[in-house]
Amino acid sequence: MNILIYDNTFEGLLTAIHDALDLNIKPSKILANKSFQDDLFATKYEIDADLDKFESLWNSVKKKTNEQNCQRIFKAFLSESIDIELLIYDYIKLILETDYNVETNFGDDSVIKINNIQKKVGRETQRVLMFVRFQKTIDDIYYASFDPKYNVIPLTVNHFRNRFADQKWVIFDTRRKYGYYYDLDSVQQITIGNKKVSMNSGKVNSESLHVSEKLFQKLWKGYYDAINISERKNIKVHMQFLPKRFWKFLPEKDFKNSLIKA
């Protein structure tokens, strides 16, 4: 039993995989140090991220496959799902050891698994773009919190920077306690949550809201209720497209939580 322990980062994981391939260690588990529990009978390797090793492995993967496929590996990593590290190890090993391009071999288990996981991550990214709601604060910053299943906020930053280039905004991941702030010039990562914001519902407290904010939320809710065609009521589809876990962030859904039962 070989357990590789890395430092939670993508660079760290690739360093670990680099070492495993280099020293010909077959890992039975690869764990982030935050989720590591001591195991009496295993041989442990604690590996620190090494940018040179990361670059060398990542470049050789890039050479064997294409940019899009590398993106898939990174997305799969963001899923943070159990044993994703081992799957990435298998996938990278497969890519390096096969003479031809394997990314479309959907008959292979690790290929189809990586594909399906990265698809889920992509879908969650899309959901952030759909359901994030900004609240305007008194200091003219548009603030939004979100609680994505996977660690996808980094994948959304470009979208919001392109779209809202003329307004300051913050998008904050309440589960992982970090976010990004755009100051009309560049995007910075921020880690401290603002005390004026509820960590649970992501709501900015009313003293810090811009005077017009409540009105626009009301307008939006009014619009949302009016656009519904009651003759076509279809709660099943509604719940499927708009799962309950997002409702607390949506001004149009907020007060109705208790009214509909799925």
């Binding site: 394997v102 479309t104 071999n105 959907f106 008959g107 292979d108 288990d109 189809i112 399906n116 899309q126 773009l129 759909m130 359901f131 994030v132 709601r133 900004f134 609240q135 305007k136 548009y142 939004a144 979208h159 392109n162 779209r163 809202f164 280039a165 003329d166 307004q167 009309l184 017009s212 009105l215 626009f216 009301k218 307008l219 939006w220 009014g222 619009y223 949302y224 209720d225 009016a226 656009i227 519904n228 065609i229 009651s230 003759e231 076509r232 009521k233 279809n234 709660i235 099943k236 589809v237 509604h238 499927q240 497209f241 708009l242 949506l250 149009e252 509909i260």
Partner: protein, 423 residues
């Protein structure tokens, strides 16, 4: 922006809600410099109402006053309903503020006809122009073209909007004349032709001049009401097909008729909107846009209406058992696409994956094929199992229908067994 705007907004949204189109895809208008907005080419939904429809664009009527009296319309002149009119600035401000908060992907603006078509259209174009030129807004704009407005206004509308649409509503001319005496097909189809030729012209121009402004980059669309007239699915789909072919439409939307004016004796009495039929029409629409089906393969004189119980693709397969079973490991892409339970994505994956080795049922399942339907129509790297030819189409139909039913767990009442009773 004042709080009475809330009431205006509600009235206007209620008037606009029967327009189906909410697509925000197909435009890649980028944010230049430091403006607001960046259209996303694949479209984004921002919310879903309880009827299960997506909210992507803010649908508004600039006004719901109208000089026309169309039987199927909620805003017809003779209806006694609340009416309201927005100023251009109000709509512009609402759009910008909603967009900034990520509520919407853009604006869908239509209008009742007031004074005359040109006057109405001009006000709509001003909204789009102000958004683009004053606010440097690059989000999505969908404008409903007003039939009868001048070519010059259509041209302007196309330069500011991402999509234009003219609704046909009723699939055959005699029925349209009956329900909307002021309208006829040519008044609707003419603007469509104008838009089409402008789009083609513009594409040509953009090929020559890189910086030429794009004209309605995500094309034009229309809407057909289903179930308000005795038109068959064949009538509706033939019209839709010819619109795709001849007018180069991006989308035809189908809208199940909701009896808004039940007092009008020209309209049928329905207990509920024909939602299943609407769904089957959309499925067929997909079949001829993405699956290379010809329209007469799905609906023809023998089968003028779609089967409501099963989807049109399955229905086609059951009518044509001679072409099955299909060998997944050998057949070409177009043929694989005809198997019920295999969609575009799965078919593409199959074609790619089988270069590396033969595929079996487990592989197909992982790729995403719905085996519950597909298994009767294919052979793959497995032992032979009974296909449609052995089971016969009517039995396959029944098997699949039974499979689709939600499986209810029948509760068996467990009781303690008695040692001495004789049961």
């Amino acid at each position: 922006m004042k709080s009475e705007t809330i009431d205006k907004l509600k009235i206007s949204a209620k008037a606009a809600k029967y327009d189906v189109s909410c697509a925000s895809s197909g435009s890649n208008r980028a944010n230049k410099g430091k403006g607001i907005g960046n259209a996303s080419p694949w479209g984004i939904c921002h919310s879903f109402t309880e009827d299960g429809r997506c909210v992507s664009l803010m649908k508004l009527m600039l006004t719901n006053y109208c000089i026309y009296d169309c039987a199927y319309c909620a805003n017809r002149k003779s209806n006694d309903i609340q009416r309201t009119t927005f100023s251009v600035k109000e709509v512009v401000d609402l759009t910008i503020e909603f967009y900034r908060r990520n509520y919407i992907e853009g604006l869908f603006l239509s209008s009742g006809v007031i004074n005359n078509p040109d006057y109405t259209m001009e006000r709509m174009v001003r909204v789009a122009k102000d958004l683009r030129e004053i606010h440097n807004y690059n989000g999505y704009i969908h404008l409903k073209s007003i039939p009868g407005a001048s070519d010059d206004l259509q041209q302007k509308a196309g330069l500011y909007a991402d999509r234009l649409s003219v609704n046909i509503e009723i699939a055959s001319e005699p029925n349209l004349k009956m329900l909307a005496p002021e309208k006829n097909f040519s008044s609707i189809l003419n603007p469509m032709d104008t838009i089409k030729s402008k789009i083609i012209e513009n594409k040509e121009e953009r090929r020559k001049f890189k910086h030429a402004r794009s004209f309605s980059p995500s094309g034009q669309s229309t809407q057909l009401i289903v179930g308000a007239t005795p038109d068959t699915d064949q009538n509706i789909l033939t019209l839709a097909d010819s619109l795709y072919r001849n007018k180069h439409l991006k989308r035809v939307y189908y809208s199940g008729f909701i009896p808004v004016n039940s007092y009008d004796k020209r309209l049928p009495v329905l207990s509920e909107p024909p939602l299943k039929r609407e769904n089957r029409l959309y499925q067929t629409d997909w079949l001829f846009r993405f699956y290379n089906y010809r329209i007469d393969e799905i609906v023809n004189d023998d089968h003028p209406n779609l089967d409501l119980e099963i989807d049109p693709k399955l229905s086609y397969a059951l009518r044509n058992p001679w072409m099955f079973p299909i060998d997944i490991n050998k057949a070409n892409y177009e043929t694989i696409l005809r198997v019920p339970g295999i969609g575009v994505l799965s078919a593409k994956k199959i074609v790619l994956a089988r270069r590396y080795g033969r595929l079996g049922l487990i592989n197909l399942k992982k790729i995403g094929v719905v085996l519950k339907r597909a298994k009767y129509f294919i052979t793959c790297n497995e032992l032979k199992s009974p296909t449609i030819n052995e089971l016969l189409p009517q039995n396959v139909r029944q098997l699949i229908l039974n499979d689709n039913k939600p499986k209810r767990i029948t509760k068996v009442k467990h009781t303690q067994l008695s040692l001495f009773s004789t049961t």
